[in-house]
């Protein structure tokens, strides 16, 4: 698969990644994103996955994959050993998002995170009507969902502010999965998906 054929937020992330960099993809799925990055951006890539069928798919895609549970931490990886650590549509499914982000920024010089924005108007309408939201990006029932830590764009901004995390870039995708261009009005209301590039100022 080519980068241009990937999910829109992955297409956007790929644009933020420099050629020949070293990339760790947390929850890398079938490895098609890393495979495309390897091919078109010449990155050194590793994926982390827990699901055995996804691991088979990664091996099939010729992608380095390490079977691991992200909730157990990234102890296999050394400090500053990656240019980018990516977590796409996974943060909402981990047990301790703030700890996972700390680990991402320990291992990687930069972190890239995408998540479904719970602040989106569709979610708000459903909540206003008294129901937990179900959308294209959040298709599960409340009782049977891997998504245990939902947040809004505002929530994520606050998390970064309180934990000394710098937001280097932010992009939002609307319901049509198009990038919302320029300084968008009411991003927390309009965005279906949020994409962040973050880092932490090192004391050394």
């Amino acid at each position: 698969m080519k980068i241009s054929e990937l999910r829109p937020e992955l297409f956007l992330i790929a644009d933020w990644i420099e050629n020949h960099s070293k990339v760790l993809d947390l929850g890398c799925g079938d490895g098609s994103f890393l495979a495309a990055l390897q091919k078109e951006k010449k990155v050194i890539g590793y994926g982390i996955e827990i699901d055995i069928d996804n691991i088979k798919a990664c091996v099939d895609h010729n992608v380095n994959v390490i079977q691991s549970n992200i909730d157990d931490g990234l102890s296999d990886f050394e400090n500053d050993s990656f240019d980018y650590v990516i977590m796409s549509q996974t943060i909402q499914a981990v047990h301790h998002p703030h700890k996972t982000i700390d680990d991402m920024l320990r291992v990687g010089r930069q972190g890239i995170i995408t998540f479904p924005n719970m602040g989106n108007w569709k979610c708000r309408v459903q909540l206003a009507l008294g129901k937990m939201p179900i959308t294209e990006y959040l298709p599960h029932s409340w009782y049977d969902t891997p998504n245990i830590h939902m947040c809004t764009i505002k929530d994520f901004d606050l998390l970064c502010a309180t934990r000394d995390i710098n937001i280097k870039k932010r992009a939002t995708l609307n319901a049509q999965h198009e990038k919302i261009i320029g300084m968008p009005l009411f991003p927390n209301l309009r965005a279906e998906i949020a994409v962040y590039k973050i880092n932490r100022t090192r004391s050394d």
Binding site: I52, V59, V65, I66, D76, E78, S81
Partner: protein, 382 residues
């Protein structure tokens, strides 16, 4: 589970095979400082070496294995080679694509030069005088076999347990000759507990009155009780508690309690059977030597015990596999290898296969395990 493990009907065994022997005249200077002037390596091959010699896969055997990895020697053989489920047409190591070589290790008792061979200087069997060989010595002797066969570089070197250690050593000693290293249910060195179990096994053999300081063959006897006990101990450590429970529970051979020490529980008779069949095919001196070779394996030793600096020498791509219930070489031990490889940006994939069958899982056709191997080997360019 068992029915799921049955052969996929589209795959075939390699069929009838015959071992071959290569006589190597090049003296081999061993880690111990001793020299073996010439030696024979007994091996089997499956599939066909292509014109460029780029499709060769080396299979390294474990403690009690030998060169007979796949197929049958006779039409009436009860069992095929020890890794038959993994090697053959359309099997994970597809012999339509690969030329597979499996040698018996030097010091073994399957046909390569070892304690059962004639010592040219004494014209008697080596017996206990066969020098202790190390994993590095095996790699060296296998590299001579590769030269003989015209194989400049292996598409893959692969093994489980002690075989995985050989694959690891190959990637370090001959980085340019190994394109892929497949390390299964292995460890970068034995743990204290591993060495302890080996020592109990060795003491069982050494304490057998028939051992005669290793010269039992000359007296036409064998330390069968000791070797049987060694195998029984080893066998328990290759299985898991859950696996044993699932297989035997507390089932008894007879519902009456005997109030004696004959085998009453099924697990007892199973272990005794495992021990008895083993002594018919294995040599006690080789067992001692192989366990010692396991104890000594520690490639990081020459690099200030830094496994990361050690693995940095490799240039192969790695596949590392462990099994959830393996407590002899636990998943944590495989992860040590993976972590060291990640340090120097080596290509590596790792997975831990769910299995109740302990260390022996690497020999079983567990679907997830074989599917990963299949996809990995399909991706190897030849």
């Amino acid at each position: 589970m068992i029915s799921k493990m049955k052969d996929n009907q589209n795959t075939k065994s390699v069929g009838l095979v015959a071992p071959q022997t290569s006589i190597i005249q090049d003296p081999l200077v061993l880690d111990s400082g001793e020299t073996i002037k010439s030696y024979e390596i007994c091996y089997e091959t499956y599939g066909t070496l292509n014109a460029t010699g780029s499709n060769a896969v080396l299979i390294c055997h474990a403690l009690s294995g030998d060169h007979h990895a796949a197929g049958y020697h006779h039409t009436d053989d009860r069992k095929p080679g020890w890794w038959d489920n993994c090697i053959g047409p359309s099997r994970p190591i597809d012999t339509n694509k690969f030329f597979v070589v499996c040698p018996n290790n030097l010091g073994g008792c399957g046909g390569s030069t070892g304690p059962l061979s004639k010592n040219p200087s004494t014209r008697k069997n080596y017996g206990p005088d066969f020098p202790i060989v190390t994993v590095r010595d095996w790699v060296e002797s296998q590299s001579k076999l590769a030269d003989e066969l015209g194989i400049k570089s292996w598409a893959a070197v692969m093994g489980g347990s002690l075989g995985g250690m050989q694959a690891m050593q190959w990637s370090l000693d001959y980085p340019k000759r190994v394109r892929n290293a497949v390390i299964i249910a292995a460890a970068p060195k034995l743990s204290t507990q591993n060495i302890a179990f080996n020592e109990i096994s060795r003491q069982a053999i050494l304490a057998d009155p028939n051992f005669k300081h290793g010269h039992y063959n000359e007296a036409n006897i064998a330390p069968t009780n000791g070797l049987k006990l060694a195998r029984m101990i080893g066998h328990v450590t290759y299985l898991s508690d859950d696996g044993l429970h699932a297989k035997f529970g507390r089932e008894r051979l007879d519902k009456n309690t005997g109030f004696g020490f004959d085998a009453e529980f099924e697990v007892e008779s199973y272990l005794q059977y495992q021990g008895e069949t083993f002594v018919n095919r294995f040599d006690a001196n080789t067992y001692l030597l192989m366990t010692r070779s396991l104890d000594y394996f520690d490639p990081a030793q020459n690099h200030n015990d830094d496994l990361r600096a050690t693995m940095a020498q490799a240039s192969a791509k790695f596949l590392v596999i462990s099994f959830s219930s393996d407590w002899r070489f636990s998943p944590a031990r495989s992860r040590e290898i993976v972590r060291a490889l990640l340090h120097s940006n080596k290509d590596v994939s790792y997975c831990e296969i769910e299995s109740d069958f302990g260390h022996d899982s690497f020999l079983l056709p567990i679907p997830d395990y074989h599917q990963i191997l299949t996809k990995y080997f399909q991706g190897i360019a030849v």
